[in-house]
C-alpha cells in the first residue's frame, strides 16, 4: 500500500493528522492565549520577530502569532469538514439517483447543476453575509450549497456508467428495490472517487475562507484568512506576519490535494510512462531461400514495473509466398506477442528480443531504424481485431488508404488515388468512389474491416499479419472476410499469418498451424495433419474441447482443468504438466525437447504416437 501511494501521500497524511490533533486539543496545549495583548502583559513586543520566546513572532499588539495560527486550525478544519460532509452526502445522493433513475429526475438535477455552476458565487456570498451576519453556520450552509453540484456531477457520471454494468441488471432481475440497488451496488463503487474528490473539496473550502477574508468577509473568530489579511498591511517591514499563516494554509491545501490525488490513483492507476527501449540480443541467422517471414529461436522479454515477463520463448516458424500460417492459442498464451515481436510494436515497456526475425530478407531486430521502417511500411501489412479503433475516426477512408503510399513514396498523389479506388474494389466495397470520401463511422463493421485490409494492401506487401481479424464480426461477415483474405493470399502470392483463438477458422483457412501455450510453440505442422493426427496433449485437449457441428447435440465436451501458468515465473519442465491428463514425473523435471519431423514437430515427452501411456 505504502509503495503504491508514495512518500508525499504519507507526509501529507501525517501533516493533516497533526492539524487534527491541534484542532481537537488546542486548549490543553501549553500555548499562550491568542488574544492576550503582549505589549500590555510584557510577554511580547510589538512586531517581535520569530524566536524562542515566540516561535512565529508577534503582531502589532504583541499577540502571539503561533497561538493564533494554532487557534486558526479548528475553524479551518471544522468549516472544511462540515461543508465536505454536507455537500458530499447531498451531492452524492443526488448524483447517484440522477445517474441510476435517469429520465425526469436526471434532467432536473443536471439543470440545477448547470445553473448553479453559472451562478456568480461571490455575489451570493456578499448578499447572504449582509443579511445573515458572519456566524460559522452561515458559512457552512453557503459553502455546502455551492459544493453540492461538484459532487453531484462526478457521482452522476460514475453512476451512469455503473448502471450499464450487468451486475446492476442482475440485481434488478433478482427483484432488488431501487434503494437497495443504490445502497448495495452503486454507492460502494462511487465511495473512493467521492472520497478523493472530498479531500480536494476540503482544500477548496479552506482557500475560499482565505479569499473571503481578503475582502473583509470572514468568520467572527480567528482564522488563517484573517491573519493573512491583517499581516498583509505590514508585509514590507514585518513579512513574517503574512508569510507564516500563508505558508501554513498553503501546506494544508497542498496536503489535502496530495491525499486526494493519492486516493484517486487507487481508483484509476496512472500509466507509468517508462521510456520504451527495444534491445536486440544474440545474432542473426539468415533464413532459407524463399521464405517471406523467417522466425528462428525468437525470445521476447518485457521488463515491466511488475516484473520480467517472457511472453515469447524460443519460437520458430517460416512462411513461404502464397502460404498461410495460423497461430492459435488461448488468451494470455502470447500469440499476439509473437506478431508484436515481428513488427517491434509493444506497449510501454522495455523489451529485449533475441533470435532471428527476418522479413523479405531484412533483419527486423538489428537493421538500422530507417530500413526497418521501410520494411514495415512496404513489405508488411497488418490487420487488427477491431477495425473501428484501427481507423482514424476523423479522416476519410480514401486519405487513410493513400497515406502509406505517400509516406513511403511508392506512388505519386494521382497514382495513389487511382490505386485506392482499385483497392476498395478488390476488397469488395460497393460504390468505391463514394466510400473514398466517407468516414469510418459511415461504414458497417464488415466494410470497415475491408477498408483496413485495403490500407494494409496499399503498398503491395509480401506479408500480411492478421490479429484476430474476424473476432469482432458476425459469422456471415467473418466468412466473407476470411474468403477475401484467402483469395488475396492466393492471387498475390502473399504470405499470411493469422493469429486467432478459433480453431475452426484455422482449420478452414490455413496451410500450417502453430499451437501456442504459455509463450511456447508446443506443436507446429501442416493444418490437415495436426487436426487429423495431433501429437501434443494440449493440442488434443484443445481440439476436443471445441464444440463441433459433427457431434450430436448434448455431447459432453472435453475440458482442460486448471489455468495456464504465470509467464512471470514459469514452471520448470513442461508448462502444460499441471493440466495434462498424461503427465509423468519426467514432464515436471525436464523441459521437453522438440521431436517429430521438420514438417510436423511437437514438444512433448509422451506424444499421442508414443502409446501406450497411462492416461489418468
Amino acid at each position: 500500500m505504502r509503495k503504491r501511494l508514495g512518500l508525499l501521500f504519507w507526509v501529507s497524511a501525517v501533516y493533516i493528522g497533526v492539524l487534527v490533533f491541534l484542532a481537537l486539543f488546542r486548549d490543553l496545549l501549553p500555548i499562550r492565549d491568542p488574544d492576550a495583548l503582549g505589549i500590555r502583559t510584557g510577554d511580547c513586543r510589538q512586531f517581535q520577530d520569530p524566536g524562542w520566546n515566540s516561535y512565529f513572532g508577534c503582531d502589532n499588539l504583541g499577540r502571539d502569532l503561533f497561538s493564533q495560527v494554532v487557534h486558526g486550525v479548528r475553524p479551518a478544519l471544522f468549516l472544511g469538514f462540515t461543508v465536505t460532509i454536507v455537500s458530499g452526502t447531498v451531492g452524492t445522493l443526488l448524483g447517484v439517483l440522477a445517474g441510476f433513475l435517469r429520465g425526469v429526475f436526471d434532467r432536473v438535477v443536471t439543470t440545477i447543476i448547470d445553473i448553479s455552476l453559472a451562478f456568480p458565487a461571490l455575489v451570493l456570498l456578499i448578499a447572504v453575509r449582509a443579511s445573515f451576519g458572519n456566524g460559522i453556520v452561515v458559512f457552512i450552509v453557503l459553502f455546502s450549497v455551492l459544493g453540492i453540484p461538484g459532487y453531484a456531477r462526478i457521482v452522476r457520471g460514475a453512476s451512469l456508467s455503473l448502471s450499464e454494468r450487468e451486475f446492476v441488471d442482475a440485481a434488478a432481475a433478482m427483484g432488488a428495490t431501487t434503494w437497495r440497488i443504490v445502497r448495495r451496488e452503486l454507492l460502494p463503487n462511487v465511495f473512493l472517487p467521492v472520497l478523493s474528490f472530498a479531500f480536494i473539496g476540503f482544500a477548496v473550502v479552506i482557500l475560499a475562507e482565505g479569499g473571503l477574508a481578503f475582502i473583509g468577509l470572514s468568520l467572527d473568530q480567528i482564522t488563517w484568512g484573517k491573519l493573512i489579511n491583517d499581516g498583509r498591511v505590514e508585509i514590507r517591514d514585518h513579512p513574517h506576519l503574512a508569510l507564516i499563516p500563508s505558508t501554513v494554509m498553503f501546506g494544508t491545501v497542498l496536503a489535502f490535494n496530495l491525499v486526494g490525488d493519492g486516493l484517486r490513483s487507487l481508483v484509476a492507476p496512472r500509466e507509468v510512462a517508462t521510456a520504451r527501449r527495444l534491445i536486440a540480443e544474440g545474432s542473426h541467422q539468415p533464413g532459407e531461400e524463399g521464405a517471406v517471414v523467417h522466425v528462428r529461436n525468437l525470445r521476447t522479454v518485457l521488463h515491466t514495473p511488475g516484473g520480467t515477463v517472457e511472453p515469447v520463448d524460443d519460437v520458430s516458424f517460416s512462411v513461404a509466398p502464397g502460404e498461410s500460417l495460423g497461430i492459435v492459442g488461448e488468451s494470455g498464451s502470447g500469440k499476439t506477442m509473437i506478431l508484436r515481436s515481428i513488427v517491434g510494436a509493444f506497449p510501454l515497456a522495455d523489451v529485449t528480443r533475441g533470435g532471428t526475425v527476418e522479413v523479405a530478407g531484412v533483419d527486423m531486430l538489428r537493421s538500422p531504424d530507417a530500413t526497418i521502417r521501410r520494411t514495415l511500411g512496404t513489405e508488411i501489412g497488418t490487420i487488427s481485431q477491431n477495425p473501428l479503433t484501427a481507423l482514424n475516426p476523423v479522416r476519410r477512408i480514401g486519405d487513410q488508404i493513400i497515406e502509406p503510399m505517400l509516406v513511403h513514396g511508392t506512388r505519386s498523389k494521382q497514382e495513389a488515388r487511382d490505386r485506392a479506388l482499385e483497392l476498395l474494389e478488390q476488397v469488395g466495397i460497393p460504390a468505391p468512389e463514394q466510400r473514398l470520401r466517407e468516414y469510418p463511422h459511415q461504414l458497417s463493421g464488415g466494410m470497415r474491416q475491408r477498408a483496413t485490409i485495403a490500407i494494409a494492401l496499399a503498398n503491395e506487401p509480401q506479408l500480411l499479419l492478421a490479429d484476430e481479424p474476424t473476432t469482432a464480426l458476425d459469422v456471415t461477415v467473418q466468412d466473407q472476410i476470411l474468403r477475401l483474405l484467402d483469395g488475396l493470399r492466393a492471387d498475390r502470392g502473399m504470405a499470411l499469418v493469422l493469429v486467432t483463438h478459433d480453431l475452426a477458422v484455422v482449420k478452414g483457412f490455413t496451410d500450417s498451424v502453430a499451437i501456442v501455450y504459455a509463450g511456447q510453440v508446443v506443436e507446429y505442422g501442416p493444418t490437415a495433419e495436426i487436426f487429423a493426427n495431433p501429437q501434443h496433449r494440449y493440442t488434443v485437449a484443445l481440439i476436443r474441447s471445441m464444440p463441433n457441428l459433427d457431434l450430436p447435440s448434448h455431447s459432453e465436451l472435453a475440458t482442460i482443468e486448471g489455468a495456464p501458468p504465470s509467464l512471470i515465473d514459469p514452471p520448470t519442465g513442461c508448462r502444460f504438466a499441471d493440466r495434462c491428463p498424461a503427465v509423468q514425473q519426467k514432464c515436471r523435471d525436464e523441459s521437453p525437447v522438440r521431436s517429430g519431423t521438420d514438417a510436423h514437430s511437437y514438444s512433448c515427452w509422451f506424444p499421442m504416437s508414443a502409446q501406450p501411456v497411462e492416461v489418468s
Binding site: E166, T476, V505, P547
Partner: protein, 330 residues
C-alpha cells in the same frame, strides 16, 4: 415481415411470448424496430437456443422477457401471468422466477462485494421462508457450480478468472431456484477450454435441477451442443424453429442455411455462403417490407416484398417463415 405467426406454439408451456414488439427511439425521431412480433414458448426442462447475428433482436428479446427492456406491445406469460401488466412490487416479486446470465462475467459481479454476499443476494432480498438456505446451502450451490473450497465465499470477484466469475453468476441465479434461466452469450467471452467447462456445467445443472433455459448465442456450434430446440432470428423476426438436430440437418429457411454455411470448416452439405447471402444487413430503422431477409436472399421474388411470410409447419415440430423454403427431407 419474416416471421410472425403462432402455429408453432404449444399448450401448457412454462413461458409463452406472444407477438412481442420492442421499439427504441432512434435518431431524429425515428423508431428502431429491434423486435417485431416475435412469438415462442418454453416447456419445463427444455433448452431453447436462440441464434442470429448482431441486430437480430435476440438479446433484446431476452432482456424484454426479464423486464429489463420495456415491451412496446405483446405479452410475456409466465405460468399464466402476463408480466407486461405488472408494475412495482408485483413485478419485483414476479422477477424472482426468472434469472439472467450475461456475456461479460467480470462486469456481472459487483467488484466491491464478497462472493458469498453476491451469491446470497437473492435470499437477502426475499428472505429465507423455510430456513433451507443456511450458509451450508450457499456452500452447496457454490460446490454445484464447481467452486467448492473453504474460502471461496470470502473472496472478491477480481481474484477469480473469467470462467470462475461465470460460475459465480450461475450460482447467484440458481440460489433463486428460477423457473426460467435466460443466458445471453454466456460463453462468448471465454476461451475454448473454459467454454467447454461452462457448457458441460450447464448441462449437468439442467439434469440435476431440471432447469428451463433460453440460451442466446451467435455461435451455432455452441447452440447445437446445448439446445433441445433452436430458433433462428433475423432483423427482429423469427425465421425458423425446430428441434436441434433437425434444424442443423435440414435447415429450411434461406437465412438459416446461410448462417450454417458461414461456419468455418463445417462438413455440412451446403453451397458456399457467398451463394446463399449477399449484401449488408438493412437498417432496423427502416426494415424491408414483406420478408425482412428478401434484400439478401437469392430466392426472393415479388411475393416476398409484398407479403409477409407466416411461420408454417414443414416437418414434425419444424416451422419456417418463408414463401420459398428449401424442401425438408424427413
Amino acid at each position: 415481415m419474416a416471421g410472425t405467426g403462432k402455429a408453432h406454439l404449444r399448450d401448457g408451456a412454462t413461458l409463452e411470448v406472444h407477438d412481442l414488439v420492442v421499439e427504441f427511439p432512434g435518431p431524429k425521431k425515428s423508431v428502431v424496430h429491434a423486435v417485431s412480433g416475435v412469438s415462442f414458448d418454453l416447456n419445463t426442462g427444455e433448452t431453447l437456443g436462440v441464434v442470429g447475428e448482431s441486430g437480430c433482436g435476440k438479446t433484446t428479446t431476452g432482456r424484454a422477457i426479464m423486464q429489463l427492456e420495456e415491451a412496446t406491445a405483446g405479452s410475456i406469460i409466465l405460468r399464466g401471468q402476463d408480466l407486461c401488466d405488472l408494475r412495482g412490487p408485483a413485478l419485483r416479486s414476479a422477477r424472482r422466477a426468472m434469472q439472467m446470465i450475461f456475456q461479460d462475467p467480470v462486469s456481472s459481479l459487483n467488484p466491491s462485494r464478497r462472493v458469498k454476499d453476491i451469491v446470497r443476494e437473492g435470499l437477502d432480498i426475499w428472505g429465507d421462508p423455510d430456513g433451507s438456505f443456511s450458509a451450508d446451502r450457499i456452500d452447496e450451490i457454490l460446490d454445484a457450480v464447481g467452486l467448492g473450497g473453504a474460502d471461496v465465499g470470502e473472496r472478491r470477484p477480481h481474484e477469480f478468472s473469467g470462467g470462475q466469475c461465470q460460475r459465480i453468476c450461475i450460482a447467484r441465479a440458481l440460489v433463486m431456484d428460477p423457473e426460467v434461466l435466460i443466458l445471453d452469450e454466456p460463453v462468448s467471452a471465454l476461451d475454448v477450454s473454459v467454454q467447454a467447462q461452462i457448457l458441460n456445467l450447464l448441462q449437468q445443472l439442467k439434469d440435476r435441477f431440471g432447469l428451463t433455459m433460453m440460451f442466446i448465442s451467435h455461435d451455432l456450434a455452441v447452440v447445437k451442443n446445448i439446445s433441445d430446440r433452436v430458433m433462428v432470428m433475423y432483423l427482429g423476426k423469427v425465421c425458423e424453429t425446430a428441434p436441434t438436430d433437425q434444424l442443423y440437418a435440414n435447415p429450411a429457411h434461406p437465412y438459416s442455411r446461410a448462417l450454417l454455411a458461414s461456419i468455418p470448416g463445417h462438413n455440412l452439405d451446403l453451397p458456399p455462403a457467398s451463394e446463399l447471402i449477399s449484401g449488408e444487413l438493412p437498417s432496423p430503422i427502416d426494415p424491408p417490407s414483406g420478408c425482412r431477409f428478401r434484400t439478401r436472399c437469392p430466392a426472393a421474388t415479388d411475393r416476398c416484398a409484398a407479403e409477409e411470410p407466416i411461420l408454417q409447419a414443414v416437418g414434425d415440430d419444424h416451422y419456417v417463415a418463408c414463401h420459398h423454403p428449401v424442401a425438408v427431407s424427413l
